[in-house]
């Protein structure tokens, strides 16, 4: 009876004797093998699976009475399940394997014929690819989480607006002048929740809440001469319930944005790098997942989120929309109207590429994509610097319905 050791390396599998000398080997790596196949093979091993051929190789090199030491538990179990007669033991503290591991590159050179320098660059490439694959796999399952989170963010925003209008209207009974002086909803909530009575408004307290000097001054002045009704503690408590919730919603909003940003780094780093996490997440949500987004043609990505306008166009022969949610990108909405359609097309084309890289390879190439896009936008800006001269047109009939920002033409 002899102890033998299974020693696996990225390029070959070995059976070692007790002194760590290879007594047999099986080449994993062949010149004919593609990088993808090789990566897949290593991936399977990590999952505790070995191919038929490797099993055969092991079987033909151990005798019935031999004991085979395998470092990884899962692989050990896999081998004993598949080779009925093998006596497998799991152990991670064998001098034999450590010794072989110390001579790894020379063993590889002798058996597989790959020189150390070449070996290292192979392993570097293989692991870069394998790790990208694994990171992508973890992320893949998370795209729908991101889609939900962006929808939740929209809900939160709507609720903030709803509560803000309510608190403004309600608190205005006591201090109507404040409504115009404080534009930011969050600041308004802060004043109501933290100070409450207009008689308690002082410059110091307002500044503590982050209100600007001059605004604070105006508020204090207005408070002194306000025409609003008096407020009891009892009434204020009720208003505060909603105002406090408003503040809480702002903090939820920030957490959600942070979550989306971090998750997008994992799920779709190229889309994130190109258009930012929020817009990117919104596109994924609208498409119904990263994979689906990656399969859409650029022309569809261009109008995602403008479905209403698109159907209207199809039905009534109106002009089709030039952009959907990608309108939110500053490159588009900060540009003059007549350039927007062209910029939208260029952006959608880059987005389609980014989505495909994110869904299928996981490399990071957003910086190049963004540079290309910026170049193209520069071109558009110089080529179409002036608005086109409009041909005379018949007055078009206005169809009802509110226009959405994202659907403007």
């Amino acid at each position: 009876m002899a102890k033998k050791y299974l020693f696996i390396t990225p390029l070959a599998v070995y059976i070692l004797d007790e002194h760590g000398e290879p007594i047999a080997f099986y080449k994993l790596y062949r010149d004919s093998m593609s990088r993808e196949e090789h990566v897949r093979l290593l991936y399977d091993m990590e999952q505790g699976r070995l191919s038929e051929k490797i099993l055969e190789f092991i079987a033909s090199n151990i005798k019935k009475e031999d004991e085979l030491v395998v470092e990884d538990n899962d692989l050990g179990r896999f081998i004993s399940n598949n080779l009925k007669d093998a006596r497998v033991e799991s152990a991670t503290r064998g001098d034999a394997i450590l010794k072989a591991r110390e001579n790894l590159t020379s063993i590889i050179e002798k058996t597989v014929g790959v020189k150390p320098q070449e070996y290292y660059s192979l392993v570097h490439e293989l692991m870069l690819q394998l790790t990208r694959l694994k990171v992508k796999e973890v992320a893949e399952k998370r795209d729908l989480f991101v889609a939900q989170a962006i929808n939740a963010l929209d809900d939160v925003n709507k609720t903030i607006n709803l509560f803000a209008s309510r608190v403004r209207e309600w608190y205005s009974l006591h201090f109507p002048e404040l409504d115009e002086l404080v534009e930011e909803h969050e600041d308004y909530f802060k004043v109501v929740s933290n100070i409450g009575f207009r008689s308690k408004m002082t410059k110091e307290r307002l500044k503590e809440l982050g209100i600007k000097d001059d605004v604070a001054e105006k508020i204090v002045k207005a408070a002194q001469s306000s025409m609003g009704a008096d407020l009891t503690e009892f009434d204020l408590e009720a208003i505060r319930l909603i105002s406090d919730t408003g503040l809480r919603l702002y903090s939820i909003r920030r957490s959600l944005e942070k979550y989306i940003d971090e998750a997008m780094y994992e799920v779709a780093p190229n889309i994130r790098g190109l258009v930012g996490s929020l817009l990117g997440a919104r596109l994924i949500a609208l498409a119904g997942g990263l994979d689906k987004l990656a399969k859409l043609p650029a022309s569809t990505i261009q109008v995602l989120g403008a479905e209403k306008a698109l159907f209207r166009a199809l039905r009534y022969g109106a002009k089709p929309p030039k952009h959907g949610v990608i309108f939110q990108h500053p490159l588009i909405h900060r540009s003059p109207k007549w350039q927007r359609g062209k910029i939208a097309r260029a952006l959608a084309a880059k987005l389609a590429i980014a989505a495909r890289i994110d869904a299928f390879s996981g490399e990071y190439r957003a910086d190049e994509l963004r540079e290309d896009l910026e170049k193209r936008v520069e071109e558009i800006k110089t080529l179409y610097a002036k608005p086109p001269v409009k041909p005379e047109r018949a007055v078009k009939a206005k169809k009802g319905g509110k226009k959405f920002r994202g659907e403007k033409r």
Binding site: E46, D72, L98, T105, L128, V135, A139, Y265, Y364
Partner: protein
């Protein structure tokens, strides 16, 4: 920005440099293996045709340890390192600079998000870096990739970190090889005084057959962190 004037190699550590600035201040640095590329917003300076990356001791415990007078630094050009907990690559990138093209760094990290960052900022540009998305508590999961190494550098902030580090060292560390370990007192056990945690972790290493050669506190660069160097005898 203040200009860099001169550079000299560190007295004790090859490929670690000290850059002198106009205002008389001195900073640690390494020669950038991936010219033009920053990993964590560090300053790049050009002196004598070489690009140096300023090494921030407040961001990197190894730099902190060097400034605190670390005596043994087994990380030298051409050696092999197994790095546990590479995160997005702040310290690993400097280690990669020191190792140079003939060395190799096997970098283990289990959080996919930071691993992605590590790949795109560090591993993609550096041929001496091999990324491994894996849990350092289960070394047999990457045993088919990693060869025997001269140094295991561990910064994984885990309770019972020493046990896992010793498990890795048993499998991968050459005889006479070194363990370098940052011990974060707080994340191991908040209820105990920091020094007690350090002691326990060092005891564990000793019991597993690794001789502690050096231990230092990282203040002011890092609060409640100790840095331990041990050797496989």
């Amino acid at each position: 920005m203040i200009r860099a004037l001169r550079v000299r190699e560190h007295e004790a550590f090859p490929q670690v440099y000290v850059v002198e600035f106009e205002d008389g201040s001195e900073r640690l640095a390494t020669v950038n293996m991936a010219p033009g590329i920053k990993v964590y917003g560090e300053q790049l300076v050009n002196i004598g045709g070489k690009e140096y990356r300023i090494w921030n001791p407040y961001r990197s415990k190894l730099a902190g340890a060097i400034l605190k007078g670390l005596k043994t630094n087994p990380i030298k050009p051409g050696i092999k390192v197994l790095y546990l907990g590479v995160a997005s690559g702040t310290t690993p990138s400097h280690v990669s600079d020191i190792l140079g093209p003939s060395g190799i760094l096997y970098g283990v990290e289990f959080a996919p998000r930071v691993m992605r960052e590590f790949i795109e900022k560090v591993a993609a540009y550096r041929t001496n870096v091999v990324p491994l998305l894996a849990d350092a508590r289960f070394p047999s999961k990457y045993a088919h990739i990693v060869e025997a190494v001269d140094v295991i550098y561990a910064d994984i902030a885990q309770p019972f970190q020493s046990k896992y580090v010793a498990d890795n060292a048993d499998m991968f560390l050459k005889k006479g090889g070194w363990i370098m370990m940052a011990i974060k007192a707080m994340s191991i056990d908040v209820t105990k005084a920091p020094s007690e945690t350090y002691k326990r972790e060092m005891n564990e290493l000793e019991q597993r057959g690794y001789k502690v050669r050096e231990a230092l506190h990282l203040e002011p660069y890092d609060e409640a962190h100790a840095f331990v160097v041990a050797q496989k005898t």
